[in-house]
């Protein structure tokens, strides 16, 4: 089985959609930071949503298979997987141009059909280190509390030994951004701690 890489299928400054060529059981995870390295700069974003289903809405997926597991049904019906798609919604949270990382909207959207790959640990550390990237996420309608918490947890893992220090920085930034919404702040912090 080939390993699929999603590609940008709808591009905007604040968010973009990407899709795998077929259904994949383990796409990029909620909150994972991804990078689009094609174009004049590398656009970094956080996975805010994932959905899988038929590529053609006029051909709904039939729930067949009897006692078989999902993997067995897919193996027994090889036409199904290519007719399905897994799509991700990614919210931009910065871009890297040469040696400079900015927690700002990229000047232009990522190119359509560009490959979307996992952000490397150094890229993640550079974009998220001061917590400023959270401003774009907090303001994005696609990012609810769960997305924000998952993103902070995911980014913290990339900081390795500095994970705790990063989490504190992110918490302070969140407190500043959400000083008028303590309920939301508490919800996100619970998500990070959980």
């Amino acid at each position: 089985m080939t390993i699929d890489t999603p590609r940008v299928v709808e591009a905007g400054l604040r968010a973009f959609a990407c899709a795998y060529e077929r259904y994949v059981e383990e796409p990029f995870r909620l909150g994972q930071l991804v990078a689009v390295r094609e174009g004049p700069w590398t656009v970094i974003g956080a996975v805010a949503d994932t959905a899988s289903g038929p590529d053609d809405p006029s051909r709904p997926l039939q729930a067949t298979g009897g006692e078989m597991s999902a993997a067995e049904v897919l193996a027994d019906n090889p036409h199904i997987r290519p007719l399905l798609r897994t799509r991700l919604t990614v919210v931009s949270c910065g871009y890297i141009e040469g040696e400079v990382a900015r927690a700002l909207l990229p000047p232009t959207p990522p190119p359509l059909l560009a490959r979307v790959e996992a952000a490397s640990e150094p890229e993640t550390v550079r974009i998220t280190g001061d917590g400023a990237f959270l401003a774009l996420l907090v303001g994005a309608p696609q990012c609810d509390d769960a997305v924000l918490a998952a993103t902070i947890r995911s980014a913290a893992a990339a900081h390795g030994a500095g994970a705790r220090e990063f989490t504190v920085v992110a918490g302070k930034e969140l407190a500043r951004l959400l000083k008028a919404d303590s309920a939301r702040l508490a919800s996100i912090i619970r998500g990070v701690a959980g």
């Binding site: 089985m1 080939t2 053609d56 036409h79």
Partner: protein, 385 residues
């Protein structure tokens, strides 16, 4: 609503009851056909000789018996791991109202591996034609520059055969392959006088070449063309020639005959297609090495005609094909899954056709070409009262 349904509903019951009465009158024909089938099986050489004699006088397609006893029915052997390959096509015909005459052929291909580790493939490929100067002015060869005689259906048929054939050969590297095509094995319009002679000759050569290539692909390849709900009557025509019964209503098609003989999943014996129709596709010398053999298959309520090249009629190849067809039909409500998915890949929707038409008009206008004004076409676009 412009169709006044109420004007039809009262007449439907009478029409249907007349049809049902006709089916009832066919009982004697079915019995005579069954008796003739048994007699034929008793002495197939003599039966074939009598069919060959009849063929000389009546230019219709006949069936000839093979080594399989023609009254026998067969159940499918167990299904074994393999890849099912299929190709199907769809086309946009030249539009006489368009500023430039052209056509589109879209070919869908699928390769579905069962109990194998290789990848499935579902894709499509579109071709715009004509690629070169179209056939000359309207003359006795059947072609003209307005799109008539270009043989788009024929070009689509050969494109399907070639796409499926080449994909099947690729997949043989992974193991056994069953290649399924929709419709008849040999392109039907190869003998059509409506198609320009140069097109027919070129397609005939391409048909021969791809079938030659497939015939050299080894025993791991089974090949068939699948006709769902076939109305062919080759076997019935032969039985009428063999039977002494006269003045009875014979089954109108082989499907009606085998509907009473085949259980679900069973196939009939193999027959050879025979004909003395001069100039028709089945008698073209160039395809003599690819004689069509066929059997009938019951898949649920459907009696399908399954055509195979004579060179692919060994017991192992037919057994693999039979088992695969039953498995495929079970996966897709009585029709082979691979054919269904190839069709889905090939189909050109109404929206696609409109989009292509607009694209053609825009590009033609950019180059200063416009379609001739046509009142009927314009009035259909603007349906205001």
């Amino acid at each position: 609503m412009t169709l006044r349904i109420e004007q039809l509903t009262g007449k439907l019951p009478d029409l249907i009851s007349r049809y049902a009465a006709g089916l009832g009158a066919m009982d004697a024909g079915l019995q005579a056909a069954g008796e003739a089938l048994n007699d034929w099986a008793g002495d197939p050489a003599l039966g074939n000789q009598r069919v060959e004699d009849a063929m000389q006088h009546v230019p219709r397609p006949y069936a000839l018996a093979t080594d399989e006893a023609c009254q026998c029915v067969f159940t499918a052997p167990p299904f074994t791991p393999l890849t099912v390959v299929s190709a199907d096509g769809s086309s946009i015909e030249p539009d006489r109202f368009a500023p430039v005459q052209c056509y589109v052929i879209n070919i869908g291909r699928v390769a579905l591996p069962y109990r194998m580790s290789c990848n499935a493939l579902l894709d499509s490929h579109a071709e715009l034609g004509p690629e070169h100067e179209p056939p000359g002015d309207d003359d006795d060869r059947g072609g003209d520059t307005l799109g008539r005689g270009w043989g788009v259906n024929l070009l689509r048929d050969i494109a399907e055969l070639e796409a499926g054939g080449h994909l099947a050969r690729e997949r043989l590297a992974d193991g056994n392959v069953v290649l399924m095509l929709d419709g008849t094995l040999l392109p039907w319009d190869l003998d059509s006088r409506q198609v320009d002679e140069s097109v027919r000759k070129a397609v005939l050569a391409r048909t021969r070449d791809i079938l030659d290539l497939l015939s050299l692909s080894g025993d791991g390849l089974s090949v068939c063309a699948y006709v769902s709900g076939s109305r062919a009557s080759d076997v019935v025509t032969s039985l009428r020639a063999l039977s002494p019964a006269k003045g009875i209503a014979w089954p109108a098609s082989d499907g009606q005959l085998f509907a009473g003989l085949l259980g679900d999943g069973q196939r009939s014996a193999l027959f050879r297609a025979g004909s003395q129709r001069a100039g028709r596709v089945e008698t073209l010398n160039e395809l003599a090495a690819h004689e069509v053999w066929f059997f009938y298959l019951r898949a649920g309520g459907d009696i399908a005609r399954v055509e195979v090249p004579g060179w692919a009629s060994s017991a192992a190849r037919i057994g693999r094909l039979h088992a695969t067809l039953i498995d495929q039909c079970a996966r897709c409500n009585g029709y082979p899954r691979a054919l269904q998915e190839a069709h889905e890949q090939a189909v050109i929707s109404g929206a696609d056709r409109q989009q292509f038409s607009r694209l053609l008009e825009a590009e033609a206008a950019r180059q200063g070409l416009y379609g001739a004004a046509n009142g009927k076409q314009e009035s259909k676009r603007r349906r205001a009262v």
